[in-house]
């Protein structure tokens, strides 16, 4: 009965466009079906370009300032590729359309290469990097091209290694959170670059299909709050005053650039186009051969690998049966406005979006972990699984609860991070700003070291109290020492505590010494190299540098010796509290052991 050869019987449906005329010119035969309307080729192109122009001109920001610089975010995909072409046509009109004057002073193209996050170390060959492919597209336009890599988020020093980025993303256990983080980093890079280059408008190529997927998936991730900001056609959330996240660029190269004075407005002029329309347009204009297909984290994965992917599947599937789905969702999204409860002054350290305060309290009320009912909202309440963030900043480490700095959705993401990981500097910077604001205290920023020293750890169990054993972190970027968080037993004796505090003090001492020593080393080495460069004009060879090493060590002899002596002394001093603690623990342990022995003998005797 059911053999494979049996033909599948499907009622053949007459194509909707068959034999119909174009609804626009009503003369030519229709060849294209968009939702329920039929078009001929030339009318379709006309309508498509018209839509784009209308979208651009509708927004006041286009007219308000004619001499603005704009940046186009180009992923290389169909939508952003099309956007670039349309924008060029719009800004550089043909000679006979001279009345339409150019709107933007300058257009720049920016691309962020994510390949580092997607491919393994071995695969990370040239062919997987999208940067050069996109650059070849951008070369066809005489606009400035800026190529960024995702690892740039860890400030320029780390560009070559790319190591830090992977260690962070590897620590994220679910694809959903990973995708989210990647997206935030990408947005941050784009914003940062736009500011740096003085661009006040950032064009994104989100089409309506993409936007409706985003609306649903963001809702599912608990981002209903910032959804209107993330999907609207025109978003001027990134206002000048509040953008302290980018302060860390201030001190870069010791040059003071006040980047905060630049407003960046995100524009999405493709928001009314379906991905189908874009595909057809690209086909007609020959752009289709010029597209870079960027693999994503969920490429070649199952549908249920991440929320984003599942939503995509859901929407595309629905669109097939109910062709108005996408536009309905997109229009619904466009009607949403941010809630009054949102405090626009506050923004999440990771995703840079505003959020509602008091989330942790709310969560504790609706999800109870304890035997006792939690306290009423205003009083602080900590649950055992609470995240905490610890920051190591200029040797003064400060801890702050993550609920003060992150939004609900990012808190949920943090749950998927199981290790101590380092976040990009911009996150630490935002948190620092918040602490400063809250405490009204200013923490001095030294211009030379600040970029290296930002650190932001997120972990599910960072409180000493919740550790089960001693906890060793990743090496410090400057001192090269691994930080240790000691385990505090519940019934710690005074000897134990003394012993632990002593060890912590010594760790701190070591850390301080090596930090200052290495800082000095870095600075002097840089100076030495610069001098040599001036003299010889070449990069110093290793032989030449070894002279410097010798010099440095000679100069540092006294300092080093003093340190060593101190270290020896401390080592001997440590014997006393260590011994005390050991003896005490032995005493506690002893009777227990003898007790078990007796029972063992008793057992023997009885048997």
């Amino acid at each position: 009965m059911c053999s494979i050869e049996e033909p599948i019987l499907v009622k053949e449906q007459a194509p909707l466009s068959a034999g119909k005329k174009c609804i626009k010119c009503k003369i030519a035969k229709a060849t294209i079906l968009i939702r329920y309307s039929t078009y001929c080729k030339s009318c379709f192109q006309h309508v498509f370009v018209g839509k784009f122009r209308k979208n651009l001109e509708k927004s006041r920001v286009i007219h308000s300032a004619p001499d603005e610089k704009a940046m186009v975010a180009l992923s290389g995909g169909p939508s952003s590729r099309c956007l670039l072409q349309l924008l060029r046509d719009y800004c550089e009109p043909l000679p006979h359309e001279i009345s339409k004057k150019s709107t933007f002073n300058e257009i720049k193209i920016c691309h962020v290469d994510e390949s580092v996050a997607i491919f393994d170390e071995q695969e990370k060959e040239k062919e997987n990097s999208t940067l050069c492919k996109v650059e070849s597209i951008a070369k066809k336009y005489n606009y400035e091209f800026i190529g960024l890599r995702l690892e740039d988020i860890f400030s320029p020093e780390y560009t070559s290694s790319g190591l830090y980025d992977n260690s962070l993303l590897d620590a994220v256990s679910t694809l959903t959170s990973k995708e989210e983080l990647l997206w935030h980093f990408k947005m941050c890079l784009l914003m940062q670059m736009a500011r740096k280059k003085g661009c006040t408008r950032l064009f994104m190529g989100d089409c309506s299909t993409r936007l409706s997927i985003k609306i649903i998936s963001l809702t599912s991730k608990g981002r209903g709050f910032s959804l209107p900001l993330e999907t609207s056609g025109e978003c001027n959330l990134f206002k000048a005053e509040k953008h302290y996240e980018f302060n860390f660029l201030l001190c870069q190269n010791n040059k003071i650039v006040n980047l905060d004075s630049i407003d960046v407005i995100i524009l999405r002029p493709m928001k009314d186009m379906l991905s189908k329309e874009i595909g057809i347009y690209n086909q007609f204009t020959g752009l289709v051969d010029d597209i870079v297909i960027t693999p994503t984290l969920t490429s070649m994965m199952s549908v249920a690998s991440s929320i984003e992917r599942l939503t995509e599947d859901f929407i595309v599937g629905l669109e097939k049966d109910y062709p108005s789905t996408v536009s309905t969702i997109a229009r619904t999204g466009a009607k949403l406005t941010p809630s009054n409860l949102i405090n626009l002054e506050q923004s999440c350290a990771v995703c840079m979006m505003p959020y509602k305060e008091g989330i942790k309290n709310w969560q504790n009320r609706i999800t109870v972990h304890m035997k006792q009912p939690p306290l009423a909202p205003p009083s602080p309440f900590t649950s055992p699984s609470q995240n905490s963030i610890s920051m190591d900043y200029n040797n003064s480490s400060c801890q702050c609860a993550s609920n003060d700095t992150l939004c609900y959705a990012c808190l949920v993401n943090m749950r998927d991070i199981k290790k101590v990981v380092e976040f990009p500097p911009y996150v630490a910077d935002a948190i620092l700003q918040k602490i400063q604001k809250a405490t009204n205290a200013t923490i001095a920023i030294s211009p030379t070291a600040n970029r290296l020293k930002y650190k932001f750890f997120a972990t599910t169990n960072f409180n000493n109290k919740s550790l089960k054993t001693d906890y060793v972190g990743i090496p410090d970027t400057i001192s090269n020492l691994r930080p240790i968080k000691y385990y505090i037993p519940e019934n710690a004796s005074p000897e134990d505590t003394e012993w632990r505090l002593h060890r912590e003090r010594i760790d701190q001492f070591n850390h301080q010494f090596w930090t200052s020593n290495n800082e000095l080393f870095i600075v002097e080495k840089q100076e030495y190299e610069n001098q040599l460069k001036l003299k010889t004009g070449k990069k110093p060879t290793s032989a030449e540098i070894s002279i410097f090493y010798k010099d440095f060590l000679d100069k540092a002899y006294d300092r080093q010796m003093a340190y060593n002596q101190q270290w020896w002394k401390e080592n001997i001093r440590m014997l006393l509290p260590g011994g005390k603690a050991a003896i005490r623990n032995f005493r506690i342990w002893m009777p227990k052991r003898s007790r078990t022995r007796i029972s063992f003998f008793e057992k023997n005797a009885s048997s």
Binding site: I307, T337, P373
Partner: protein, 348 residues
């Protein structure tokens, strides 16, 4: 090694909580679940002492059980009533109504059953025969909403609690986005809705997962009815439901996350009162009246997209068409209500 419960750290864990993935023992699970509902109730100040509250118990017993337990334990001081709606769907509702009746004796709560047949003169089975399998959910939904309110008025209560859980709310949010219904999108996440200051509706299970409710019912040996309505399989909602289940599989917190969002809208229709039956409505006539008119006149499409055109063709409603009783004329079940309040006094 058997795992210990993460809350009491004494008993062996026997439940893995869907909400958090924590492993709990049975007693702690009950405790935690009840406390969460209690928190939801107290935080949102759902009740005042002395309120007469109708429990909309379709078939699931959990809501009635929890409300009764919490009322006794934390002294809310509420007079509780059971309220059930009989849609008249054979094979779906009759079983659950039986258990509701059994339950009435078990919890010693007064019960009121309002049926579609009584209120509107049409049972769902008859409506489906008339309308067909498409759009019948519109009728059922609209009628049930009003039936509950009418039942509540008859019981002389001022508050209805419904068993909507986080999954239901998430589903509704999703549906409203898919449909583009902004006004509802804003309203549907509210924990307590007030219709005209008359009868308040609230959802104490707003933050409880459907799975947990089912588990609670299972362990406590309460009857839980999750029979899918026989008329519902291929609705648009079904798609949303499957999507949501997939989401939950990827990340359990997605459900709560959805329920959490709040949005604000620019323009909202003002709510008025239906001119025919006195029920709250955004239009001149409430949906139930329009639908009922359509049924009685043999124009089932009235109220489903083609109202105006049909009205043009067939003219206004003739005088002799049967309509519902006006809201203000609803009789409070005098006898019933009295004996119940007496009972309430006795209990205290």
């Amino acid at each position: 090694m058997p795992r210990l419960c993460v809350v009491c750290k004494e008993e062996r864990a026997s439940v893995k909580r869907p909400k958090t993935g924590e492993q709990l023992c049975r007693n702690c699970f009950y405790h935690v679940f009840e406390i969460e509902v209690h928190c939801t109730i107290t935080d949102n100040k759902l009740f005042k002492s002395g309120d007469r509250v109708a429990i909309a118990a379709s078939g699931g017993k959990v809501l009635a059980h929890i409300m009764k337990t919490l009322n006794d334990r934390y002294n809310y001081g509420l007079d509780l009533f059971l309220l059930s709606v009989d849609e008249g769907i054979t094979g779906y509702r009759d079983d659950s109504l039986e258990t509701v009746k059994r339950n009435q004796q078990q919890y010693n709560l007064p019960l009121k059953i309002v049926s579609y047949g009584e209120l509107y003169g049409w049972t769902m089975d008859e409506i489906v025969k008339e309308v067909g399998l498409k759009n019948n959910c519109t009728f059922c939904g609209v009628f049930r909403r009003q039936a509950l309110d009418r039942g509540a008025v008859m019981l002389n209560t001022d508050h209805i609690v419904t068993g909507h859980n986080a999954d239901d709310i998430a589903e509704t949010v999703l549906m409203n986005i898919l449909r583009g219904d902004i006004a509802r999108l804003e309203r549907c996440t509210e924990i307590c809705t007030t219709g005209d200051g008359r009868i308040r509706r609230s959802k104490p299970f707003k933050y409880a997962y459907e799975k947990e409710i089912v588990m609670y019912a299972y362990f406590k040996k309460l009857d839980y009815f999750s029979t899918e309505c026989v008329y519902s399989p291929n609705s648009y909602r079904g798609h949303a439901r499957t999507f949501l289940k997939d989401l939950e599989a990827i990340r359990p917190s997605a459900i709560i996350g959805e329920a959490f969002q709040i949005k604000q809208e620019v323009k909202l229709p003002t709510q008025g009162v239906c001119s025919r039956c006195g029920y709250m409505s955004s239009n001149e006539l409430c949906k139930a009246c329009v639908l009922l008119e359509g049924l009685n006149r043999g124009l089932p499409r009235l109220g489903i997209g083609k109202t105006n055109r049909l009205r043009k063709i067939h003219g206004e409603m003739p005088e002799n068409t049967a309509t519902m009783l006006h809201f203000s004329q609803l009789q409070i079940d005098g006898e019933n209500g009295k004996s119940e309040s007496d009972e309430g006094k006795k209990r205290r």
